[in-house]
């Protein structure tokens, strides 16, 4: 078939889960095979960087880029794929919001190296040797990408056409994207407007089938999941377990609540929300009855209630720190200190 479209899938600072997610579309892979030629997908295909570099601009129909931008190589390949591709999709939460690796944005390169190459319990490195971007070895010279001070999202380094959140994106969302591209290619159908987030516009709570207290919702105490046996039918928040469903975009099928565990927000914030954690904090303060009864609670009582959240960063920003407003605050504070 001469008219196959060309697709590429690349990973920046990711885990490979987005690549497995593409495999998880199972039999639909054979549809993709009929429609497209994979020019670059390092996990399973032998295309090399030099092959892509040699391709004309805009000769790849769609590039799926997963993983965050953690180093200079991630950025370089993102820019190259952008030039070579008609459509660039930020695939998965790391590309969209920084994801779990983005939690590193409260620290920096120096501290990461200190921990990884020096302080960790099994590391034996008395001279504190660290990876070098350029090094003379006896036989010649070798290079490594530069590890950046912070994690960036894909749209901080290139123009992104579509965003597909999820850690990883679900089969249903991927199928939506594959079908949209297939219809565009085979029938000339319009692509969605640029900037579209390929997911639901609702919140996770809208698609979660747990029973919620309808009026006068209130919790007195926050529990960790291991501290109580959560009722598998009732809203986890109503039971005092912090579930960040109220601030999180729907589209995953509420898999974690179905497994009797709270949402951790991998789909990112909803459309209306600028800051994922801020939105959840607001929902939580209302549940803890802080917002509505400020006058009745002393400052100490409010602090006591909120200090039950032992790790606000990991609780509210596990997937979205590089995209959050908070991250800028942390960065600015560090700069001032430094």
């Amino acid at each position: 078939m001469a008219d196959k479209i060309k697709i590429a899938q690349y990973w920046g600072a990711g885990c490979g889960g987005c690549d497995v997610a593409l495999l998880d579309i199972d039999a639909k892979i054979l549809d993709v095979h009929a429609l497209a030629e994979v020019v670059f997908w390092p996990i399973g295909f032998d295309g090399k960087l030099a092959d892509i570099e040699a391709m004309p601009d805009k000769s790849i129909t769609v590039s799926f880029y997963n993983g965050a931008i953690r180093n200079s190589e991630n950025e370089h390949v993102a820019k190259m794929l952008r030039e070579k591709s008609v459509v660039m999709i930020a695939f998965g939460s790391c590309a969209c919001f920084g994801g779990t690796p983005g939690l590193a944005n409260v620290t920096n390169k120096e501290e990461v190296f200190q921990t990884v190459y020096k302080d960790t319990a099994s590391t034996d490195n008395p001279d504190f040797i660290t990876p070098q971007t350029h090094l003379k070895v006896p036989e010649g010279e070798v290079d490594l990408p530069e590890f950046y001070d912070s994690v960036k999202t894909l749209d901080e380094v290139v123009d992104v056409d579509y965003f597909m959140p999820g850690c990883p994106p679900t089969v249903n969302l991927i199928a939506l994207a594959v079908d949209a591209v297939a219809k565009h290619v085979t029938e000339g159908a319009d692509l969605p407007p640029k900037g579209t987030v390929i997911a639901s516009d609702k919140t996770l709570c809208d698609e979660c089938d747990r029973e919620r207290v309808e009026t006068g919702r209130r919790i007195e105490k926050i529990y960790q999941s291991y501290e109580i046996k959560a009722d598998p039918k009732k809203c986890l928040l109503d039971q005092g377990i912090i579930c960040i469903g109220p601030a999180t975009r729907a589209g995953c099928g509420s898999m974690c609540p179905k497994a009797n565990m709270p949402c951790r927000g991998c789909m990112g914030p909803t459309k209306a929300v600028m800051d994922h954690g801020g939105s959840m904090l607001s929902a939580l303060s209302s549940l803890l009855n802080i917002t509505d009864s400020e006058s009745k609670l002393s400052e100490e009582q409010i602090i006591e209630l909120m200090m039950q959240v032992k790790d606000p960063l990991g609780t509210f920003y596990a997937f979205t720190l590089p995209k959050s407003l908070l991250r800028r605050t942390v960065t600015e504070k560090r700069k001032r200190k430094g």
């Binding site: 990973w11 690549d19 690796p101 034996d124 990876p131 006896p138 990991g314």
Partner: protein, 507 residues
């Protein structure tokens, strides 16, 4: 498979004038990597480096997190074997909270984990390795992939591969809540009971997977072991052979176990030199740092780091399927045991005593393990007691603990310390592929030196160099986790008008 043409083993080299040959990125593995091969003045290989150009730093940013979140955070080290991290992490939480899991919880975790092995070993054998064996090491680059394999073996077999890898994922989803990035692990147990209907569904899928594994064993024999060209490649001691130590988990009878047991280390002759509990890992393993790569290189502490050399004086050891098959004395399930015996007989007939040092034997070991994982999955899914609601054990105050399991790619160690509030104060992880890194680099160097001579290079030869790392099924995503510390956080909670309501700090 009658329409299949024979694999293309060799191609014609051409003379290069470059003294540095770069393979970037190396492909059909998990994660990033690049190989630099340096030629000397005679056009022979002076040295080769497999560089891992990535680092995320989990050991840094997991500090300050609530330890109960680590099974879902450290999942994200690797999306190919998230279940391995989830299990090692949950077992570390068992230790941190001094919480003994219930029998039901242990069975559910292991069942879930056999789903992971089924998915991971099928994905590696068919999607990553098979192109080299079905199409051949020198087949055109744009054919050497899973779609090329499907074209060669036929859509019917392709559909069976897809179906059974998917069953592995489905079992993880049913038990673990999700296949990629599961969420069911809690100290002393699991979050979710399973229904009889789900159990019965998993039993059916497991039965089918056992049959598919039998088919895979046969395919390996028919396509690879029966082909003298491949046997010559596998037995090529100049290119694919390292005499190293081996490490893997065994049960009390020294049979392979992926979920729980002691860690056994044998030397180059097969003699046991270490057998340790998770909490003792720091007595056995240290990690070395090289300036030309982001990934660390573990070695046996008592033997020491002696560079990229092998033999009893070098602390380099191997893990994963080849490591496990060399440390174990067999399998607890009949089909896997039978195939293990077949491998043992083959190597004995070849005059090999002691461990199998042939690097490409990783593939055979992996297929034996696929058989074991599916059989064990069926045993556990057939056990009606797994639907019990007794899924949560008693949890105590958090302290410090180590959890170890065998990831598909090797021994996986998670070590956490917690303060009284449950916040992580210290974390160290030694990840499956990392254990193998020094050996992988040595293997690549060895293959390059044996295969590239007198300036002659070809795509097929370079792919044969890649085969030297590919058989380890390396996961460089896993290997470059590293990030700790106590990130300072200040959150200002504001009213709608922007005035400050409260400031939260964790410092």
């Amino acid at each position: 498979m009658t329409h299949m043409s024979g694999p293309i083993i060799n191609d014609t080299p051409t003379k290069t004038t470059e003294k540095k040959i770069t393979i970037d990125p190396i492909t059909r593995l998990e994660g990033h990597g690049k190989i630099e091969i340096f030629l000397n003045d005679q056009g022979n290989v002076a040295n080769a480096y497999l560089q891992v150009p990535e680092l995320r730093g989990f050991e840094r940013f997991c500090i300050g997190r609530h330890v109960q979140e680590l099974p879902v955070l450290t999942n994200r080290l690797c999306g190919v074997c998230p279940a391995a991290h989830h299990i090692a992490s949950t077992k570390a939480l068992d230790a941190v909270f001094n919480a003994e899991p219930t029998e039901t919880a242990k069975k559910l975790r292991e069942l879930f984990y056999m789903g992971q092995y089924t998915h991971s070993h099928i994905a590696h054998f068919y999607a990553l390795a098979a192109p080299d064996f079905v199409l051949g090491p020198s087949a055109p680059a744009n054919k050497k992939n899973v779609l090329g394999v499907v074209d060669a073996v036929g859509v019917e077999i392709g559909a069976e591969v897809i179906k059974h890898r998917s069953y592995g994922q489905k079992v993880q989803e049913i038990v673990g809540g999700r296949a990629t990035h599961p969420c069911f692990g809690l100290p002393g147990g699991v979050s979710k009971q399973i229904s009889e209907e789900e159990r019965a569904q998993m039993e059916e899928m497991a039965k089918s997977c056992v049959e598919f594994a039998k088919f895979t064993v046969k395919l390996l024999h028919d396509v690879v072991l029966a082909n003298q060209d491949y046997m010559d490649l596998i037995l090529n001691q100049d290119a694919y052979y390292l005499e190293t130590y081996y490490m893997g988990m065994v049960d009390k009878n020294n049979k392979t176990n992926f979920y729980d047991g002691d860690i056994r280390v044998v030397d180059q002759t097969g003699k046991e030199v270490e057998k340790f509990k998770p909490s003792e890992y720091l007595d056995v393993i240290s990690e070395h740092v090289e300036p030309w790569t982001y990934m660390k290189m573990p070695f046996l502490k008592k033997v020491g780091w002696k560079g990229f050399t092998t033999g009893p004086s070098s602390g380099i050891y191997r893990v994963g399927p080849l490591g496990r098959i060399n440390v174990c004395e067999g399998y607890t399930t009949p089909l896997a045991q039978a195939e293990y015996a077949a491998l043992a007989k083959t190597v004995k007939d070849l005059g090999v005593t002691g461990p199998v040092h042939h690097t490409l034997a990783f593939h055979w070991a992996r297929v034996i393990e696929l058989q074991y994982a599916t059989e064990r999955m069926l045993e556990l899914a057939s056990d009606k007691s797994i639907t019990s609601d007794d899924i949560r054990g008693v949890v105590n105050e958090p302290t410090e603990g180590v959890g170890i399991c065998e990831a598909p790619r090797g021994t996986l160690i998670h070590h956490y310390a917690s303060d009284k509030d449950g916040l992580c104060t210290k974390i160290n992880m030694i990840v499956a592929t990392t254990n193998n890194y020094a050996a992988i680099n040595t293997s690549v160097n060895q293959a390059a030196k044996a295969l590239i001579k007198n300036w002659e290079v070809s795509p097929g030869l370079l792919n044969k160099v890649e085969m030297a790392f590919r058989c380890y099924d390396p996961c460089n995503s896993c290997g470059t986790h590293a990030l700790n510390g106590s990130p300072a956080l200040e959150v200002n909670v504001r009213r709608a008008d922007g005035s400050k309501l409260e400031t939260l700090k964790n410092f």
